[in-house]
């Protein structure tokens, strides 16, 4: 009995000349919320489709819940839940009709189906809207309906592809509460996102860029082990200073945050604070705690922040 929900070795997917997922290795333990963090087009959706068996991998091996994915796709489908990036339920059906359809597809009939649907309507706060057509609902409601449908059959492993991209912050908090509930009840969850604050809530995460995994681990470890120092620089004329600093080979990136410049200095500088004082004597400099965005910038080599 393995304790891994997902295990992937050398997983790759090529579309023509373009490699969307490149030699991805994953080992995700059961019971955790695992995040895929990366910008648009980095291969999050493609990775999830590969892991659910929706797309055929160009190469690599995947084990899901201890079983080899290849050849077991159909058996595994009863144990997996998948909430697609795009709303994938029927706009012209009501909330309840959508749930009834999904219930029947998963073999729920009669009383068992009714009970489960009522349970989900209550859990996801959709009881009042159960007659409303899905197409006319707000982003938050659609997302709750999609989650209800994806979890109707109580899957052991749940894939969520950018579940909160069309949702306001209030609903996002709510949504994450539901995810922690699911996780507490034993569901393993893989969620993709391009929001740093969301990624920070995950138990562990992988940073993806252009199909490559650049880093993985728990957010705390990633931040603690950041191979760079974070220094806040304040003072006048920050824009020209920024230009000047980014020229230096030891400076990974410099980004303006309000009245500060947030500068990432490579670890090859033993005394980063001193180094910065020399570079900009007219400004105040101070060390600060790294955050996940710094981790992201360092692991993608500063290519996404400027």
């Amino acid at each position: 009995m393995t304790q891994l929900a997902i295990e992937a070795k050398g997983l790759s997917k090529q579309f023509g000349q373009h490699i969307a997922v490149n030699q991805l290795d994953l080992s995700i333990p059961k019971g955790c919320i695992y995040g895929f963090l990366g910008p648009n087009g980095c291969g999050k959706s493609t990775s999830i489709r590969l892991l659910t068996g929706l797309l055929e991998a160009s190469s690599g091996e995947v084990h899901i819940l201890g079983e080899s994915l290849k050849g077991n796709e159909e058996n595994l489908k009863r144990r997996l839940g998948y909430m697609t990036q795009r709303f994938s339920l029927y706009d012209t059906l009501s909330v309840k009709e959508n749930l009834q359809f999904v219930a029947a597809i998963y073999g729920f009939t009669g009383k068992r189906a009714r009970q489960r649907i009522d349970e989900l309507l209550a859990l996801y706060d959709l009881t009042a809207q159960h007659k409303q057509h899905a197409g006319s609902m707000s982003g938050g409601q659609k997302q709750r309906l999609a989650l209800a449908c994806a979890t109707l059959h109580s899957p052991e492993l749940l894939f969520l592809d950018e579940p909160t991209s069309a949702v306001d912050p209030e609903n996002r908090r709510e949504f994450w509460e539901r995810l922690f509930d699911l996780s507490a009840s034993g569901t393993s969850i893989l969620v993709s996102t391009h929001y740093m604050d969301e990624a920070e809530r995950c138990h562990a995460l992988a940073i993806l860029e252009k199909g490559h995994k650049r880093a993985d681990g728990s957010p705390q470890d990633l931040m603690a082990q950041l191979p760079a120092s974070v220094i806040e620089v304040s003072g006048d004329a920050l824009r020209p200073l920024k230009q000047q600093l980014t020229q230096h080979p030891s400076v990974l990136s410099a980004a303006q945050v309000g009245t500060y410049l947030r500068v990432l200095v490579k670890d090859n500088q033993a005394a980063p604070l001193e180094f910065m004082r020399q570079l900009c004597p007219q400004h105040q400099v101070a060390m600060t705690r790294p955050n996940l965005e710094d981790v992201f910038v360092v692991s993608t080599g500063g290519r996404h922040v400027g």
């Binding site: 929706l54 159909e74 998948y82 697609t84 795009r86 029927y90 706009d91 359809f101 029947a104």
Partner: protein, 378 residues
């Protein structure tokens, strides 16, 4: 398995009943087409506008003109002074044909064999046509209507009563005694409309799920491709039967197209063809990536189904290549079957060859569709 098929079926029916556009098309396509073909399309030309250049100006020439007009196939609308102005009128489209009667019309007429019916004419007498037709040949229906006048009897010209010529053949129409085009068109229209709607509806219904992203979720559920396909097809079988009912019903009550054959044979034949068209739609849905592509492919099938199936032109009159293509189309086989059943009271058992062909087509189509329809994206 049945639970899932039923779930898909119920979902599909609900979506269909809420999709006003598609629902309207189910009813409107047969209605509009039927009225269009029933009233407007008529291959027997009537009242073709023609002109005349009458250089003879005799009582005989005027008698000939009124004789021609009595046939109702042409209307003399203009008289032109000379052949040049008549030609001009054809070019501008003012008239579709012009009758030219030369100044020696009367002397030609009295020498013409059709003038003295029954009476032998000395073979050495040189006879010439009494006049000439200039026809706008671009429309073959008009040309053939005028050509039919070529051998018109001329005895009655000049009010001379003579015995009637005996025709070489007597023609007895076995079916459709009044020779109305609509009688042949209405059953044929069943084939054309079913081809159009059945293929289009199934192919777009499945491609739409893929386009709108529903398929991505659906593929990740335990549903099997055959369950999805059967569940999607069945509602459209009902739609097809409703359309057959509408077309034949209106044909019967509005156009008095007889329903000679048994309803069981009719129902079975219609079901066979509906299933054949639906499986064709399924195959298309596995090829097309967008609804637009599905529509284009449907038209690609629809055009030969209209032109080659025997709906427009008799199958036997087509060149061999066209016949081979026609043989591949389910519409051709159904066209034969439904005309035989509706108009000639044939039994399905007498149409075994076409029935077997359709069954084979359905089985092959289902096989191809389920082989091609993989539960994968991309």
């Amino acid at each position: 398995m049945w639970v899932r098929i039923y779930a898909v079926l119920r979902k599909e029916l609900k979506q269909l009943s809420r999709d006003k556009m598609t629902f309207g098309m189910v009813i409107m396509i047969p209605l509009v087409q039927l009225l269009l073909f029933g009233y407007a399309i008529n291959t027997d030309a009537r009242h073709i506008p023609v002109g005349v250049v009458n250089l003879s100006q005799s009582s005989e020439s005027r008698a000939l003109i009124s004789d021609l007009e009595a046939s109702q196939s042409i209307d003399f609308q203009q008289e032109y002074p000379n052949i040049n102005s008549a030609q001009q009128a054809i070019v501008t489209g003012e008239v579709r044909a012009v009758l030219y009667l030369p100044s020696d019309f009367v002397s030609r007429l009295v020498q013409h064999p059709n003038y003295y019916s029954g009476q032998k004419i000395a073979p050495q007498v040189f006879t010439r046509p009494v006049g000439q037709w200039l026809v706008d040949g671009s429309d073959t229906v008009i040309t053939s209507t005028i050509k039919a006048l070529q051998n018109m009897p001329l005895q009655s010209v000049g009010n001379r009563t003579t015995e009637q010529a005996v025709a070489s053949f007597a023609v007895v129409p076995f079916f459709n005694p009044e020779q109305r085009t609509v009688v042949n068109i209405v059953p044929g229209l069943v084939a054309v409309i079913l081809t159009m709607t059945m293929i289009l509806f199934t192919s777009t219904a499945i491609v739409r799920e893929r386009e709108q992203g529903n398929m991505e979720f659906l593929i990740n559920t335990p549903i099997r491709s055959i369950e999805l396909m059967v569940g999607k097809i069945i509602p459209y079988v009902l739609v097809g039967l409703i359309q057959v009912g509408i077309i034949l019903g209106i044909g019967y009550w509005v156009f008095s197209v007889p329903l000679m054959g048994g309803l069981t044979s009719l129902l079975l034949a219609a079901l066979l063809f509906i299933f054949a068209s639906l499986t064709l739609g399924l195959v298309i849905s596995t090829l097309a990536k967008t609804q637009l592509q599905a529509m284009q492919m449907t038209i690609f099938i629809l055009l030969p189904s209209i032109l080659l199936s025997g709906f427009m032109f008799p199958y036997e009159a087509m060149p061999n290549v066209a016949q081979w293509i026609a043989e591949c189309l389910p519409a051709t086989h159904f066209m034969r079957m439904i005309r035989a059943i509706v108009l000639r009271d044939a039994m399905l058992t007498e149409l075994l060859k076409d029935s077997i062909w359709l069954v084979t087509f359905i089985l092959c189509g289902l096989l191809i569709a389920s082989l091609r329809f993989r539960k994968k994206l991309g």
